[in-house]
């Protein structure tokens, strides 16, 4: 099966998005990386509304918590509330180390919680770990016809 992975990065900080791209590239990820900058856009993207009518359903979402308009936890809750969307694995990727944020994320159904590393080496090794685990080791939920090309 010739599949192109789709990764959605939800983060309002272009520098962070860029680091994710760099890190994933360095980790030899060859799929697509798309990004949105706030919670409303994230939901529109996932629900294919407005500008995102033609958006592909992502295989993995990397979700920051501190987002404008609707915060990451609200986005997470919305994803995990829908019968289709809930299948998409969500990696919460936040600089918050508050136990409140961590446990709330898991309560809402986050697939894992990763603290944003403070230096480049750790950041890149985290990206490598994500690539290895989600895109090489794990079996992702089967997609509908739409993404099969």
């Amino acid at each position: 099966m010739n599949m192109t992975f789709h990764l959605l990065v939800v983060d309002d900080n272009p520098a962070d998005v860029s680091l994710v791209r760099e890190g994933m590239t360095a980790a030899a990820y060859s799929g697509k990386i798309e990004s949105v900058g706030d919670g409303m856009e994230a939901l529109a993207f996932l629900q294919k509304r407005g500008d995102f009518a033609n958006a592909a359903k992502p295989d993995l979402v990397i979700l920051d918590l501190n987002l404008p308009k609707r915060d990451g936890l609200a986005v997470l809750a919305a994803i995990k509330a829908g019968p289709e969307l809930r299948k998409i694995p969500v990696v919460v990727f936040s600089s918050s180390q508050l136990s409140r944020d961590i446990s709330r994320s898991y309560e809402l159904g986050a697939n894992c919680y990763i603290n944003k590393p403070g230096n480049l080496r750790d950041f890149f090794s985290t990206m490598r770990a994500i690539e290895q685990f989600w895109f090489s080791s794990a079996s992702l939920p089967p997609r509908g016809e739409e993404n099969r090309k």
Partner: protein, 536 residues
């Protein structure tokens, strides 16, 4: 009249000197004249008897030599008769009266006038007594005194009562307190100078007017209640209230009122004692204001401390975000463009990287410091021995690297947040290893109980600290050594201090440069006992 009396007295004296009876029987065959004389003598004797029952009687000659004293005289003067007769009357002079007093008296009686006055005399035992005295000169036919007869009444009791009364009056007059007497209907009957001073009314202005004039309208009931209680015979204990002065100003007073009874025990009025307590009230108000100010300041301080902690937390947390970008991208620059730009560029990127990393550590330290004050963790009973084992585990690589020998003696259990006790010991032991000397580091931890506190000591044989820096080292970001020599940000001891002070303890260091250090801190025992009692 006078000559008749002198004849009679002469007769009595004669009769007495004859040794004959004062009330002789009636001899038979006496003449009418004899009978009259006898009758007169009897009357005279009876009168003398009656006089002796009531009065102190003495006679002297014109020189003042005592020629006669009755029993009462002996009784009051406490002299036996034989010690008085023939003596000058001065024998009982008390010295109370000035010489002029007696000169005046003698002038009067020497001129044949009757003298009347009150005299203080001295008894044989030295005690004083007062007598109301009448001295009657008995005159010769030429009108000159031939002797004096003194008739006296003991007035010592009355004099004592008078003295007591005047003493009491003087006390009332000189009292700083306002002492006022009033009738049962509240009319002022007496007013001392203290009252005049306190209320501003003179005695003349106040006496006869109602006590009510001193009482502010809103306290009018006070006087009604007071008078009702006084009528029932009750006293009103001193209470703080407010009274009106003549000029309309108010004065804080403490007032006590007692019923006044007459000799028969009937309540006839009340005594009212008031003291100016405006100074005390002012002092109280000042104290209360100070206390309020203090508690306001304490509140403000607590609030500003909380604000500061919140600020430090938020700032350090929010600072981390952009800093993460700086760190990551300078590293990315370094990795991707090393040796592709010129030498200076590589150096600049290196400086930027170092700065960013150092800043990151500082922020993390600040975050750790500000977290100490946050009430997120629960206090429990912490076994310091177990904490030591945990800390030795955490420091295992530093211990292995330095061959440090860490020992501790029986450590107590304290009421604290477990992670904070770990941090406290970890920082202190970590420092002891870090600032080691040339010898193998030896660190001893012990605790003793003293004055309701546990005194912990962490003693090392390291490089020590010069006494002049003993205070500085507990201040956040204060360092004594160059970074290259001993790495670190100067946060460890600041955190230790904050932890110890959170539990109401103190931390200090006893050290000499080059002679090792003993870090000591206290943890109140009280807290743990209280908690144990609460659990029981």
């Amino acid at each position: 009249m006078k000559s008749a009396a002198s004849c009679a007295v002469k007769a009595v004296v004669k009769a007495k000197s004859d040794g004959s009876s004062l009330s002789p029987g009636k001899p038979s065959g006496e003449t009418a004249e004899q009978m009259l004389v006898a009758q007169a003598e009897r009357n005279l004797a009876d009168q003398k008897f009656a006089l002796d029952q009531h009065s102190i009687v003495a006679t002297t000659d014109v020189q003042g030599t005592i020629t006669y004293v009755n029993d009462k005289f002996c009784e009051i003067s406490k002299y036996p008769r034989e010690e008085l007769l023939g003596q000058n009357h001065r024998i009982i002079n008390s010295g109370h009266h000035p010489t002029e007093f007696f000169q005046e008296m003698y002038r009067e009686i020497a001129n044949g006038k009757v003298w009347h006055g009150e005299i203080c005399n001295r008894a044989k035992d030295g005690s004083l007594y007062w007598v109301d005295t009448t001295i009657v000169p008995l005159l010769n036919s030429d009108g000159k005194p031939r002797q004096y007869i003194a008739i006296r009444t003991d007035i010592s009791e009355r004099k004592r009562a008078e003295e007591a009364r005047s003493y009491l009056a003087a006390v009332v007059q000189s009292s700083e307190d306002a002492i006022v007497a009033k009738t049962l209907s509240g009319v002022i009957t007496a007013w001392n100078p203290g009252a005049a001073k306190l209320y501003g009314y003179s005695s003349d202005e106040a006496v006869g007017r109602p006590m009510r004039m001193l009482i502010p309208d809103e306290r009018a009931n006070e006087e009604v209640d007071i008078l009702a209680r006084i009528r029932r015979g009750e006293s009103v204990n001193h209470f703080d209230t407010v009274r009106l002065r003549k000029d309309g100003t108010r004065v804080d007073v403490s007032v006590g009122i007692s019923p006044v009874k007459d000799a028969r025990g009937i309540i006839i009025g009340a005594s009212n004692i008031a003291r100016d307590i405006s100074q005390r009230k002012q002092a109280e108000a000042k104290l209360a204001a100070q206390a309020e100010e203090l508690s306001r300041q304490a509140e403000e301080l607590a609030r500003s401390n909380a604000d500061l902690e919140q600020f430090a937390y938020v700032a350090s947390h929010d600072l981390q975000e952009p800093l993460r970008m700086v760190t990551a991208y300078t590293q990315l620059l370094a990795e991707r463009y090393k040796n592709k730009l010129d030498e200076s560029a590589d150096k600049f990127i290196g400086y930027a990287q170092d700065g960013a990393i150092r800043m990151q550590v500082l922020i993390q330290d600040l975050l750790a410091f500000s977290r100490v004050g946050r009430k997120e963790d629960a206090i429990s009973t912490v076994d310091c021995g177990a904490v030591m084992e945990e800390v030795k585990q955490l420091l295992s690589s530093a211990i292995a690297e330095s061959n440090a020998v860490i020992s501790y003696r029986e450590l107590p259990k304290v009421e604290a947040v477990h992670t904070q006790m770990v941090q406290l010991f970890q920082n202190l032991l970590g420092n002891a290893i870090k600032f080691r000397g040339k010898d193998t580091p030896r660190i001893l931890v012990d605790a003793t109980r003293k004055n309701g506190q546990w005194l912990f000591t962490v003693k090392d044989n390291g490089i020590g600290i010069a006494p002049e820096y003993a205070e500085n080292i507990f201040v956040i970001f204060q360092r004594l050594h160059a970074r290259a020599e001993y790495p670190g940000n100067g946060i460890g001891l600041a955190i230790c201090k904050k932890i110890v002070e959170r539990y109401g303890g103190k931390i200090w260091v006893e050290s000499q440069s080059g002679a090792g250090s003993a870090f000591r801190f206290t943890v109140p025992v009280r807290a743990s006992q209280k908690t144990e009692a609460a659990h029981a």
